[in-house]
Symmetry: D2
Subunit: 467 residues, 4 copies
């Protein structure tokens, strides 16, 4: 998971990118970076942590120019390795560019080996650098069905050739001296939207919430397989693939990642997430006194469950807004401290009650176990835990940082075993069918993490590197 | 507003105080401090900002001892003046002590002048230092109705005399070399609770949420006019005043300040706050499509309104959890940026709808105005704003940092004028009677900010200093 | 050891105080503070560490006003206790003032007990607060031989009474709303100088190097027992003591503390320090190849020795200017790392040579031992260590942070034993007589640390607290 | 200017590299980095500022492994661009490596264009990345005269081919998974030394002072054109060039850059620098009262001048050791503040005297002018400025960040004009012949900055990029 943002034609390009990344902060908190072009040179600033920690006021002042891209990076493995902070800058014979990537390539290792055999050097351990090399290496002309604008003749054929070589998930923003380019993979795994403000600046972002913060209007999604170029000559759209792929949009964006005020894949996250809760109410009618969310992940499903079932919705667990990075190590006598720093039960709501508690997913199960325990210690008579998605049984190879198969509770335990592990009276997961119906299954979703059936990967099976 | 915390008999006293202050962070973000006694000496660390900024890991390591007190301070006027960061340390002929104070004295200036005439020096501009001097100066024996434990003979008479001299609001924790003392003023303006954990450590805190984070059980409130002493000889209670005062508990604690998972004044904030919403629904029945809260201040009142009225509850404004201190100045083309960094409308919920939006209070009106405008731009057909308390017409002299009378919108505008100013279709405030009934009016509340009738102050009127 | 600075009548008062403290940084690195008056109110900023760490740019901006004082504090015991950072602020019935102090009172504990019996509270553990209380308590009129200017009638009698009650070393700057006051104790233990710049601003500082940095001219010393008041009515001098005391100027200021470019006690430190070296050459004629200083403490004495003896002066140990606070713990295989981070031998100068190495003093002996060892490992044939002052046998009670008697090497070891301990071929200390002659003994010096004979203290012996 | 450091076979490899960089801090203060191999993977940490700012304690803890390299970077143009912080990491088909470089390539732009035409991408604007690409691209076998150890067969031929393609100055350390490699260009422009400690760890460093700090012995210089490989099989030396080049050692290392306690180019900097002073005394016999250095750059030349001439050496300008980064802007009334924060005249030494002041070079002339002015205002009767090197008339293309030709005072002014500009009574520069004789001219030096005659460059003239 990562977030990308781009702006074209705005004197405050770096500042607006800073704001856009701020709105996308939920998609990655490990590091952040901004690259800006003043029409001649690309300047870049990178840092660790939240956007406000990574990019300082003086950085913004030094990043002069009208076109910018930015990136927030999710913590994967190995801590904050400075080699991997994006955007990546590159200078090749066609000039300078910078690139920021949300997604994951499934044939990256194979391509990397091939590129290295031809003399390429890699300065990061990130998939994204494969893209950079493929662009720089490319010598193929554009596909015959494409009519290129003259501004696009030098660089776009490189992008097209790179897109044909890589397999997997990629929503990209590319910054050139005088252009902003947005690219989405042919399956459309990750979201990418286009916006415009009243003064004529264009914006590209992972989610619409980043358009809102810069006061821009949503125009449309970048389509699967589409490349959009924005420069002084206007905005142009290309489809380098002649055949359409089946869309494989990541349904986990609706389950967890995207912000509820965003529209992605042409649907509002808010409505889909509430509908998950309604479906859950139909699949698991339970006689209880109230339904409470695990904040904020279970909020809308709990609201939907309450509306469908008529069981009152309450805020039974309060979230502490000042969490921050605390250095305090949990001393032995304070059980469950790490959860307690974030959530505290409202005894008034819980004591003596039969509680339905709703979360969006269970990964390792330890947090759920602490929450059930916390509710029982606050006096709950019954604790029924419902999950607004099916059990996660397989890791994601398309850009989400899931644990390995071994760490995924549901890959080795039955639902009944998980229920016992977390200590709940009931444990229910939304069915795959229920989830897909809620999200309108006709639209084409990737459900690999729930089913183990991997689009793209099944064809390329031999070259997968299992993380 | 401030928060206080104390712990007795725990090897991790400084660490637990850090956690307790963390849970009380909503009561003050300007500065924080911790004082610890190792039985012989009192050591202290103070700093600006949030608890995690003010107190560092190495501070905690250096603060060795089994008894501790802590304080979080609310931003009043004049920025972060280092003179005023609490706890205050004092050495007098009776030994060392440290003190932390939530509240405000109404006769502080007069006492200060008297003390200065006798040679006292003040090293802060805080009321609390008056208390410190009164304790040190005191020569009176304890009142005749009090039987002092021998451990209390040297110091408590000083505290009693000080309590009789000051007028106003004070919930105090005092740290001595071998004692923890908790004090609450006879009107009980501010909350103060007592707790205990399984291993026998005692805790004192402004709210019960700070007991929860250290895994302690709530025992009871410190009563108005009560002094509690905890040392190796046990826990003792004294009531230095022979006559009981009418309780004047701050109802604004229920309206806004206290955390919803806290029990204060023997009631759960959660229930009282929801009841404000129910009363609002009875007083203002409105034909609308949904009711939404201004997060987090209007959350529970909106839930209560929805339950009473049957109008669906929705999260129409999303709160950004990563706000932090942003240096970005709102550029001209981004209107309402300061609000937008915190809240974003969910267009899916708002567009084409008749919205009831609920907040807890309106102070200067500028935020409410931005919210109404933001909802209209997101497509709301009607915007009805309801407030879960009466109009604030007068400043508080008991410890809440309200604007001056001139800045309070409701002190100079009619409700209809405010409605026009903020641009809502309807504006309704909960009636005083409705608010008091929701909180159980038999219990005795201070409502000065809504009525201008000041307890204590009316007797002392000539010596008030209007801030 | 500490440094004080004051400025009157300058729009950049806080900024110039910052610079002055910067020049006095060698007198104290533990903490720093600045207090400024705008004519009505005194504002203050305090912090830990070097001046540039303790006082930030935004602090300077907020410290508006034309009169200021500042203080740098030396690390004594107990680390950076925030209670003790100066200047101290006080509000008493006569108004506000702030005070900064270089020195140490010998009857502080007795006065503190008396003040506490009368109800005073102490918020620090510093002697300086005794002064603050004595000023606030004072009720005596000025001595009859004093004719007070009308501006001085309200406050100066307090200062005079305080001066008569305290015994010991004090060079003070006091800031009032509209006045700057400078005070020096009747023995004149610590230096204090007066300066003026071309635009008519007055300055007071511990040493003349702080006048240089603000481009002010040295006018004269504040005399022992003198009080100087500067305000809009001009500059006035008072001598509250009728009888003159023998001057007891701290000779260690010449040995070590003061900066060589300063003039203190009306003499240039540079010349006196070089003369120590010349005397050393007369007392210890040694046949050697070169004379090298331990930088920077032995620099001028080594130059003087070289000039007198004709033995070449060389820089045999290079000082690393980037030391800073390093977190690296010396691993076992790197011997003498803590010294090596600061000093490195120049093998070219040392190898095969007979070396005279000169330092200003030996306290615990561990550093000298490491230096001798380092020189031998770099190939020195002989290492003769000479010290430009007599053995330190007794602690200082007048403001210098010396070790306790037990820790002072020379209090329990003979010179021959010390020589063996540090491993030198020769060890020689400058004689007391030689040192006094170099500094012009007719001027009156305190030599307690070399002799154990304490001025003032011998009369007050019963009330000394041995640290 | 930069500094490089490497260590092989030490459990504290990262810590020792940190120390080594600390000792080399004078060679670059803009940024620092450390790369460590644990035998399988290379881990890296980079940062801006001094070593202690760039690399944090937790970085050192995370950098586990027995082999490490490090780099300190000098501020060139464009501020602290994160793209250019070294060491650079690279992954190519032969595995991982990291590289750190001191020097400057003169044909970098041409090679860069060629590499880009073959598809290479550049992620920095640094010459060093050219080396990285040449290594990765290389397909040539080792030269026939070389017998490679089997451990060196895969990688070293790449290094040899790269060395043959680049022209210019390079002292390199390369880190592979299991090897440390040191490389020096055939002209030997920049120093590079080899050391070993008692426990058998090997070290490579720009100067011997970095060996001292880690308690290692100097073994010998890496020779011009030599490649040294250190791994578990031992230490091996290769000379890939069949023909020897004339050595062109940078004489400015002796004039200014290297630390005086270092041995470089097989000579002690200390002695050479003092000899510059002696030669200066012969070339410019002046009748004066004392000779003083501009600290620290003129220290040893002033000592040498004093010894040769018999004129007393004094410390007439005191250096402030606490300079740090001060935010204070010089207010108008404080003239020459930027110099005054660093240097202060000792009036005692200066007043009424005829002064010879010695510095190592004059670049823009503004600092010299301020110093002359400062000395005159402190009362100097005459000020004679002598410079221990010839006038700098041409920029350096081999790794020193000199101003452009236009900014170099001596490129456009005669010595008499410069004398008038700085306001001295005399201005004398050491002659080229004098300088070369002092450094032993038979050894072969690059004197391009003094003469405009560029080794290597004259052959490659058409492809120079003038900075």
């Amino acid at each position: 998971m990562c977030g990308v943002f781009g702006v074209f034609n705005n004197k405050s390009a770096a500042e607006l990118t800073f704001l856009g990344l701020h709105a996308l902060q939920h998609r990655g908190q490990e590091s952040a970076g901004i690259a800006v072009s003043d029409g001649y040179d690309i300047n870049i600033r990178l840092g660790s942590g939240l956007v406000t920690q990574a990019i300082k006021e003086e950085d913004i002042k030094e990043l002069k120019g009208d076109i910018a891209i930015g990136h927030v990076r999710y913590s994967t493995s190995g801590g904050s390795n400075p080699k991997n902070i994006q955007p990546f800058f590159a200078h090749f014979y066609g000039g300078q560019f910078a690139i920021a990537h949300n997604g994951n390539l499934v044939n990256a290792e194979r391509l990397k080996r091939e590129l290295e055999m031809e003399g390429a050097i890699f300065r990061s351990t990130s998939d994204t650098e494969v893209f950079v090399h493929l662009i720089a290496k490319s010598r193929q002309p554009a596909p015959p069905h494409i009519n290129l604008h003259k501004n696009d003749e030098d660089f776009l054929p490189h992008v097209f050739e790179a897109m044909k070589k890589v397999k997997g998930a990629y929503s990209l923003v590319i910054l050139r001296e005088k252009q902003l380019i947005a690219v989405r993979d042919p399956h459309g795994f990750r979201p990418l939207v286009l916006g415009k403000n009243r003064s004529g600046s264009y914006f590209v972002a992972s989610e619409t919430c980043a358009l809102d913060i810069v006061d821009a209007e949503y125009l449309r999604d970048i389509n699967p397989g589409e490349v959009i170029v924005i420069d002084d000559a206007g905005i142009r759209s290309y489809y380098p693939f002649e055949h359409t792929e089946n869309p494989k949009k990541c349904i986990f964006e609706f389950v967890y990642f995207a912000r509820p005020d965003s529209k992605i894949f042409k649907d509002w996250v808010y409505s889909v997430r509430k509908e998950f809760g309604r479906r859950l109410a139909k699949e698991y009618p339970i006689d209880a006194d109230c339904v409470i969310p695990v904040l904020d992940s279970g909020l809308l499903a709990a609201l939907g469950y309450s509306e469908e079932s008529g069981i009152p919705f309450e805020i039974g667990l309060i979230r502490n807004h000042y969490v921050g990075r605390s250095f305090i190590q949990p001393s032995q006598e304070i059980r469950d401290l790490s959860v307690r720093l974030k959530l505290n039960p409202v005894r008034d709501v819980i004591e003596g009650k039969r509680i339905i508690v709703i979360d969006d997913s269970i990964v390792r199960g330890t947090t759920s176990r602490k929450i059930v325990n916390m509710l029982r210690r606050a006096g709950a008579k019954e604790v029924h835990m419902l999950i607004s998605s099916p059990p996660v049984v397989s890791p994601c190879y398309y850009g989400i940082d899931t644990p390995t198969k071994e760490e995924l509770l549901a890959s080795s335990m039955s639902i009944e075993e998980i229920r016992k592990f977390i200590g709940a009276d009931t444990l229910g997961y939304l069915s795959l069918e229920g989830m897909l119906e809620a999200a309108d299954k006709t639209k084409g979703y990737c459900t690999a993490c729930f089913t183990g059936h991997y689009p793209v990967l099944d064809e390329l099976f031999e070259e997968i590197q299992i993380p």
